[in-house]
Structures are given as C-alpha cells and as structure tokens.
Amino acid sequence: MNVGLLAQSLLAGITNGLTYALIGIGLAAIFKGSRVPNAMQGEFSVVGAIVVVLLLTGHGWPYWLAILCGGLSGAILGAFIEVAFIRYMIRNAAPEDSYLLLTIGIGLSISAAVLYFFGRESHLLPGFGSDNLYIILDAVVREHVIWLIAISILLTIGLRQFYRTTSVGLKMMAASIDPVGAASIGIDVTLMRTFTFMLGGALGAAAGILITPIIPVDYMIGLQLTLKGFAAAILGGLTNPLGAAIGGLVLGIIEAMAIVGVSSSYKDVITFSLLILIMIAMPQGLLGRAGRTGG
C-alpha cells in the first residue's frame, strides 16, 4: 500500500461519508424538531435533484436558479407532508411507531411517482465550479468534491448557529423538547413543526443536489440514501445535526479503509461490525451526552 492509494481511499471515504452526512443532517433536524423518524429523507434528495435536472437540462434555466428552485421544492414538499399528514396524526394522538410507517409509505409513494412521471433513467448533474482535476498526494480530486466538502461544513455550522442564535431556531428547539411548555410561553408549536419539516426538506434537497454530480439520481436511490443517512444520524445521536455529520464521515471512512485495508468482499461485514461495536461502547452516539442533548 502506498501513500497515493491511501490518500485516494481516504478521499473516497470522505466524499461518500459526506453524502451520508448530508442526508443524516436533514434526518437529525427533523427528528430534533418533531421527534418523527423520517424514513423518506432520501426522497427529498431525489425530488430536489430531479427538479434541478428538469429545469436545467429540460428548460435551460441557469444552474444557480435551478438549484434555488430545487431547494425550495424540498421545503415545499416538507411543509406539505407536515400539514397533510403529521398534523392530523398528532391531533389524533397517534402512537409513536405509526410515524415511521407513515414516512415509509410516503417514501414508497414518492419513489413510485418519480418512476411514473420521469421514467427509470438515471441523471447526472454538472459538477460545481470547473471540470478541473487536482492532484493531492497522488490522489485525484474533482473540483466538485472540494465544493462538496466546503458546503457541507458551512451547512453544518450554519445549522448550529440557526438553532442557537435565531429566535425561530430557539422556538423550534423549545417546541420539540416540550410542546406543552412551549405553548404556555407563546410559541406556536404547530407552526414550528411545519418549519422543521421545511428545514428538513430543504436540507434533503440540498443533499441531493450536492450528491448528484457524483452519484446519478433515479427513482430507486432514495431508500438507499435514507438508510445510510440513518446510520450516520444514529451514530451521531439522532437529534444532533453536527453528530450526524461526524457520524457520516466516520461511516464513509471506515468503509473505505475496510476496502483498502482488508478486502472489498468484506466491506459491509467490517463496517457494520465496527458500527455495532461503537454503538455498544457509546450508546449515546459519538458525541456522547452532548450528542443526545441537541448539538
């Protein structure tokens, strides 16, 4: 094993890890704000990416405008799901497990709808910036990957700031921690929950848009993304977007190291064994108590 191979593998691990992290961040944001485990988070990514593909290649819109609309479409879809389904279930005191079933059902429906309206083809988006390739320590890096890393960091930091230093963020956190108490101090709990889903939807769409220059999007990929995102979020403590980001990175790097250090045949066995060990040793997630209490 030489430095070049190690560097390339590490880079591949970071790139994949960030894709998991981006999905995990949206999942954590929704769980943090509403206690709903969102099994359709990956579909936000699919919808967001497909909207950009449509506007960009179908209608020739400028890339930045298409991306904006893609992000918005995620937010709108999130709001719709909260208003049409979640609100009703909460009002009728639905049991906790039913939300997971609901989001699974919605995910399958969206996947089928994408298949019906857009077919089974997969689509790639152009990378951000130029098509330049950079060589770092004998590893090949696309310019888009650098953008991916930078934007992921910005999103994670931005989300923390949002919760801690804006009144909407504070209210959203409060509404999810204790809806009864939050209402008693004048917080519109229902509206905060809708915002949470809009935020999660926009984050999911952003993830899809950032990922699609690397991984082609099609109607099937939503579930796969969701599963990896869940692993990332759980590693990070489930209510902590920062934890999800770190969890995703850890997951991606472990995968890459398993392939390069041992064998590609045993990648999954090694990765999941290590994950199980981590969860046993640190049941509160990688960030420990701080992870569970909100990031």
Partner: protein
C-alpha cells in the same frame, strides 16, 4: 309499511339484474373469435423489480415481433398472440404466472424469463410437460442441461468470459484488473479465473462491489495501484466505469455485455469512452443479416435495439420456426423435436441441439467499442479454437 315492502321487493330484482349483467359481460363474446383461434404464446418477463432493466427491453423486441409476424399473416395463416406476464423479478411470481399461462390461457409455448432463478422455476413446470420454453437468460445451474426443451437465446457466462479473454489476449494484455459486482459479476469472474491460465493472462487486482453500489472509487484505486494492462468490468450500472475513468486510468476497459445498453451509457457520463464490449448487435453498424431488424425496430420505437431487444425478437421467431416445421396443432414432443435444431436469429446463430442448449459460438460474437458515448463496431473477430 307499504314503502318497506316495496323496498324489499326491488332489492332482489336489482341484485339479480346486476349479477346477470356481470355474468353477461364476463363471458367472452363468441363473435370475437369468428376467425381462427389465435396461436397463443405465453411470455414471462421481469417487468418490475430488480430485473426490470432486462425485461422491459426484451418485451419491446417481442412485441415488435408479434406485430411484424401478424402483418405477414401469422404462422400458417393463424395470427399469433403473446400473453405477457410479469414475474416481478422473483421465481415465485414466475411459477404462479407460468401456471396461469399453461393451464388457464392454454398457451402452446412459453418464453421466459429474464433472470436465471425464474427460468429454472418455470422449467420445473414446462419440463415434465415437454412444453417448449425459450429462456432469455444465459444457461444456469446443471439441472438446465437435462431440460432438453428449455432453450436459451442468451449466451452462457462461460462464453462471455471466453470472449473477454479473447479480446484481452488480442491487444497483448498480460496483466488484467477485474472490477465485478456481487451478482452475475461473480459468476463471470469465476469463469474468467478458470480460463485465464490457458490464455497466459494473470489477474493482478480483483475487486468486488455491491450490485447497486453508488461508488467504487476505493476499489478502483486499488486496481490502479496494481497497474494492469487492461481492466475487466462486470456489472449492470455505469458506476464502476465512471470510478475507473475518474481516477484518470487510461487503460482499455473490457466490459461484459450486461453493460451494453444506451441507458447504462448515459449513466457513465464522460467515462463512456474506450470501453470494449463482446456483444452481438451494434445498431449503428449492423451485420448484413441484422439490418432488416434494426430498421424495423428503429421505425417502430425511434431508437436502436441492442442485445435485450434482439433476444426478445429472436425468442418469438424461434418458437414460430418450430411450429412452422411441426405444424400448429402438433403435440409438445413433436414441437420440442422440431425446435432442437439450428436457427439463424437476428441477434446471432443458434444451435439448440447443442449440449449447452444455445450453441452460440465464439465466432458469433460482435465486438463493439464506445467512442465518446457512441457504439462503434470493431473489426476484431474471435476465432473458434
């Protein structure tokens, strides 16, 4: 009181009327069958699920065959009718559809399925009846060799492996890298391993990935480090090819024909260049005997066919040829006898009397090369040893 009585009186009459109406509508009108009974062929394909990428193009080839054949008067003056069912990419689905086709629809022959597991499952029903079955999957487990009426219009993985090694040898590659998926990739890789010594070729780096993996960069990096002369890729998505090219690997990629479709080419993006396929049909530059089929397909669907559409088309014609020889009303044994002979298909030439129940030869392989996203036909031909 009176109103109640009237109500009760009306309900049974209305109910009877509805039942009668439903019964009337569900009996097929005798008038529809005023001509000859159509010649029914059952078709079971993977139209949904993981194998849909195979079944859907196969169906378009088969449907075109039905249309063209009927426009020419059908078989011995009788129109043919394909009864198409979806096995959902799983063998249990295949069995239930096969039963329905054989016993309820009373089809004369079966085409199916797209994947090996389903084909073997259906074979369990057709073999005891000696009903002719044309499979669109390559030859599978040993039991298939005993089923003399289950024929395959797709090449075996052993043939695919040989074709790959033939080309590698012809470009002087002595060290090969292999990037293959955990599905049919593993089967082909095992065949490659068995045959590589005879060609004096060594595999210096072999890496596996999941069928639906979204990234194989790390595996590709390991292959790059071993500096092979060429790389063999076996999978069903463009992901491995993209990963290799993104690492700036310039070697020729020899890919199994499962990747030779326009859909996969699209998902390869810029990487669709300098990739060679041992396959059968290059729509842009067809062999003389394929030109007619390519033209008809392009007219009907507005695009070029490739292997999957061609096997669907050929499968229907194979059955027809057998029934023409043995006559439409013949019993299964006679048809099975008739079908086990040579057949010049549009995809390739077959010899169904061969041991491997397809008789496709190495010399039938057409090599194509992707140049900037377009398929071009290579002049190279593998010679039968």
């Amino acid at each position: 009181m009176t109103a109640k009585k009237t109500y009760h009186g009306r309900a049974p009459a209305a109910f009877a009327l509805i039942v009668a109406g439903v019964a009337f509508l569900s009996t097929p009108a005798a008038a529809q069958r005023s001509g000859a009974e159509p010649f029914k062929i059952g078709v079971i394909l993977a139209l949904t699920g993981a194998g849909a990428g195979l079944g859907i193009p196969e169906r378009s080839g088969a449907l075109l065959a039905e249309k063209i054949i009927n426009s020419k008067g059908g078989v011995n003056g009788t129109p043919i009718q394909l009864v198409i069912e979806d096995d959902g990419s799983n063998p249990d689905g295949a069995i239930s559809k096969a039963n329905s086709l054989i016993h309820r629809e009373k089809v004369s022959a079966l085409i199916g399925s797209s994947q090996t597991a389903s084909t073997v499952a259906i074979g369990g029903l057709t073999d005891p009846l000696k009903m002719p079955q044309v499979a669109l999957s390559g030859l599978g487990p040993a039991i298939e060799r005993d089923r003399k009426c289950v024929l395959h219009v797709a090449p075996s993985q052993a043939l695919n492996a040989k074709a790959i090694l033939e080309y590698a040898s012809s470009i002087g590659a002595k060290k090969l890298g292999a990037l293959y998926d955990s599905g049919y990739g593993t089967v082909v890789y095992n065949e490659l391993r068995k045959l590589s010594d005879a060609y004096g070729i060594a595999f210096v780096a072999t890496e596996k990935f999941e069928i639906s993996a979204t990234d194989t960069t790390t595996q590709a990096a390991k292959i790059r480090a071993a500096q092979p002369d060429a790389i063999v890729v076996v999978g069903v998505t463009g992901v491995p090819i993209r990963s290799l090219r993104q690492l700036q690997m310039k070697q020729t990629i020899i890919a199994a024909n499962g990747l030779a479709s326009y859909e996969t080419v699209k998902s390869m993006g810029d990487a669709a260049d300098n990739v060679v396929f041992p396959e059968f049909l290059v729509g842009e530059d067809p062999l003389p005997h394929q030109a007619e089929f390519v033209k008809l397909f392009h007219k009907e669907y507005g695009r070029f066919p490739k292997i999957l559409e061609a096997v669907g088309w050929d499968a229907v014609h194979v059955i027809l040829a057998a029934f023409k020889k043995a006559d439409v009303g013949a019993n299964n044994e006679k048809v099975c006898e008739a079908i086990r002979s040579t057949f010049k298909g549009d995809m390739t030439d077959y010899d169904f009397s061969a041991d491997d129940l397809n008789g496709i030869k190495l010399s039938n392989i057409v090599y194509s090369k992707l140049v900037a996203g377009q398929f071009t036909r290579l002049p190279f031909q593998a010679k039968e040893k």
